[in-house]
């Protein structure tokens, strides 16, 4: 019996293939090459990621379907792949010396980072819920391991187990939702679901509960309240470089799928979803910001802040349409830059054993390390959304998208929230610049790659703040073609 092989179109998943190949090279170098070659592993990883950028660039502008209709390489997916690659690249850079300092320098780290990135890419480019689910699992399982990468640190252990248990729990809900959607639509292909839905008026009941459960699965991944509770503990416990990684790519990947589901497949659905997302956005922003005020550990504070930022992006998703979609995408790009930048500072000024992370440990940093303090100030101002940083343009774009679609109350609540957030971001700056009692000792890990990463992040934060129009128009070019 002959099996009709569908058009595979392997070129469409070129970025994924490059990263997988790089991961294999890394594991082979680790296993078979002489010991001293191991120092070159980050370079291999870096080169692979650069090649990934090249692949993304070369695919830009076309919409290719592969493996039948189950994978697509459209601008939407490519924009997100760019964000994932950027996050992975910065994290690779900041990890090198950090891993050595913490005594956990293993090739598997880079292997897992790369494959986790591949998982995100699969999420962004799949059109089939089942392969989205599998991509999610690839990404998550790599992250569970990475969170526990510092095997001897009890906090890292704890983070890993908590993340794993809650993550697998959420996967169960997601899978159950997919099963119900399958029963309702006879298919899990988003394109086919879209075609089916555009024919009929509203969702049937089984389809409704299915989509709700699927959404909840992704609400967990991007950490909306009340599915956020794992975030602070996991962010705090995981090795800092992994936290930086988790806060960037996986969050963007979750939003990529949310956007695909909410706007691509279900754009004809009832206003109840909008109401649901509206409420979730408000609660998420408020809880994230209010609790962040009460934190003393910088990593934990950034964890809550990341919850709040997920809420801001959700505001753009609620707004929907071309403006909302592109605002969300742009914001995620900005968020990746500024947040990984902030974590890079924590890495550079951290101390072995993950100790030096309280506000008071950074008191008076500006007098000893003015450039480091300046960079941190830049990231904090950007996170707070103060011009001329990228965070401001992102927030402005998100909230004006909401206003232009008629969600004025939502925008007002959002702006109020970013007002609250200024309090704790500026607290970092105050501590660094205006502290009567400087910390007794600062720890500084001199690391050229990390400094390069910092420069990239700082430059990007300024560049996107001062000249964002190029990237805004790229985000505009990346929205689904039927929205145009």
């Amino acid at each position: 019996m002959s099996i009709p092989i569908p058009s595979i179109n392997i070129g469409a998943i070129l970025p994924e293939i490059i990263l997988i190949a790089t991961a294999f090279v890394i594991i082979f170098v680790e296993l078979f090459a002489p010991k001293r070659w191991r120092l070159g592993i980050p370079i291999i990883c870096f080169a692979g990621l650069l090649a990934g950028f090249y692949a993304v660039g070369s695919l830009w502008g076309e919409t290719i379907f592969a493996f039948g209709e189950s994978v697509t390489s459209d601008n939407f997916a490519l924009f997100f792949k760019f964000i994932f690659l950027l996050g992975a690249l910065l994290v690779t850079l900041i990890s090198v010396d950090y891993l050595k300092r913490e005594g956990i320098y293993h090739a598997e780290y880079f292997f897992l980072i790369l494959l986790s990135t591949v998982g995100m890419m699969i999420m962004a480019s799949s059109l089939d819920l089942i392969s989205i689910f599998l991509g999610l699992e690839v990404m998550s399982i790599a992250l569970y391991v990475l969170a526990g990468f510092n095997r001897t640190d009890p906090r890292s252990n704890e983070a890993s187990l908590k993340y794993f248990l809650i993550g697998a729990f959420a996967s169960g809900f997601l899978l159950y939702g997919i099963a119900l959607l399958y029963g309702n639509f006879h298919t899990t292909n988003l394109g086919e679901i879209f075609a089916l839905l555009s024919g009929q008026e509203s969702l049937s009941i089984i389809g409704l509960i299915g989509i709700v459960l699927v959404l909840i699965g992704f609400f967990f991944k991007v950490a909306f309240v009340p599915f956020h509770m794992w975030v602070p503990d996991v962010y705090q416990g995981a090795p800092t470089s992994v936290t930086a990684f988790m806060s960037a790519g996986p969050k963007a990947a979750g939003f990529a799928v949310l956007l695909r589901i909410v706007i691509y497949a279900f754009n004809t659905s009832s206003p109840e979803f909008t109401n649901l997302l509206w409420i979730v956005a408000v609660v998420t922003m408020s809880v994230g910001n209010i609790v962040a005020i009460a934190q003393n550990n910088l990593k934990r504070m950034l964890a809550y802040s990341s919850i709040a930022h997920a809420g801001y992006v959700l505001v753009a998703v609620v707004a929907g349409g071309p403006v909302g979609t592109s605002a969300a995408m742009f914001y995620l790009l900005v968020y990746t830059l500024m947040n990984v930048g902030a974590f890079s500072i924590l890495i550079v000024f951290g101390k072995r054993g993950e100790d030096n992370l309280n506000f008071s440990d950074y008191a008076g940093l500006a007098s000893k390390y003015p450039l480091g303090a300046l960079a941190m100030t830049l990231f904090m101002l950007s996170l707070a959304g103060i011009p001329p940083t990228a965070g401001f343009v992102g927030k402005f774009y998100v909230f004006s998208a909401a206003v232009s679609q008629g969600y004025v109350t939502l925008a007002v609540i959002g702006v109020l929230n970013s007002l609250i957030s200024v309090y704790y971001y500026i607290r970092v700056v105050v501590v660094m610049y205006m502290s009567a009692k400087p910390a007794e000792k600062f720890y500084f890990t001199y690391s050229v790659p990390a400094i390069i990463a910092l420069i990239i992040a700082a430059w990007g934060t300024l560049q996107l703040g001062i000249l964002p129009e190029r990237w805004l128009s790229l985000a505009k070019d990346s929205i689904f073609s039927f929205l145009l």
Partner: protein, 167 residues
């Protein structure tokens, strides 16, 4: 006949599932879970999904549960939940919420069943052929299939790096 088998396997699945979450001893829970998995395999079989039923027994009950049992024995866990439950409210709330959840899902499914016709008649036994299943796996779901290979690779590397004593 089919109905009787459904009742037997269904009851077995529910009862053993409840046993999984109520036994103190992890070993006993694992055995109960194997019973659940086999009952579900039986359900698959009476529906006519014989290949999946076989996989369920071989892969799930066979391979995965062996891994569980192996770890339980490796760690020599007999009873790990010493002492009384300090947060009784957690247990109470957990059960209440679980019941609410099943109630909601049940009501939704009940209400939504109207959209589905009665089961199509036909010879269920011939429905699943391994050939059709595998041709689907290697054509329409080729991409997903390839992704599972990645998934397993990540899991292997991850498990090794976490559980290995010395790196």
């Amino acid at each position: 006949m089919v109905t009787a088998a459904f009742i037997i396997f269904g009851l077995a699945a529910i009862v053993s599932a409840i046993m999984v979450i109520s036994f103190r001893n992890p070993m006993a829970s694992a055995i109960a879970l194997i019973v659940t998995l086999c009952s579900i395999a039986g359900l698959f079989a009476i529906m006519g999904a014989t290949f999946v039923a076989a996989l369920q027994v071989i892969v799930y009950a066979g391979a995965i549960m062996v891994l569980f049992l192996f770890v339980i024995m490796l760690l020599n866990l007999k009873r790990d939940e010493f002492g009384p439950e300090k947060r009784k409210i957690q247990r109470t709330l957990g059960i209440i919420l679980g019941l609410l959840l099943v109630l909601e899902v049940g009501i939704f499914i009940q209400a939504g069943l109207g959209d589905f016709g009665p089961s199509p008649a036909g010879d269920k036994g011939s429905f699943t052929s391994i050939t059709e299943l595998s041709s689907l796996l290697f054509t329409k779901y080729l991409f997903a299939f390839e992704v599972t290979s990645l998934l397993l690779l990540v899991a292997i590397v991850g498990a090794v790096i976490l559980a290995k004593k010395k790196l």
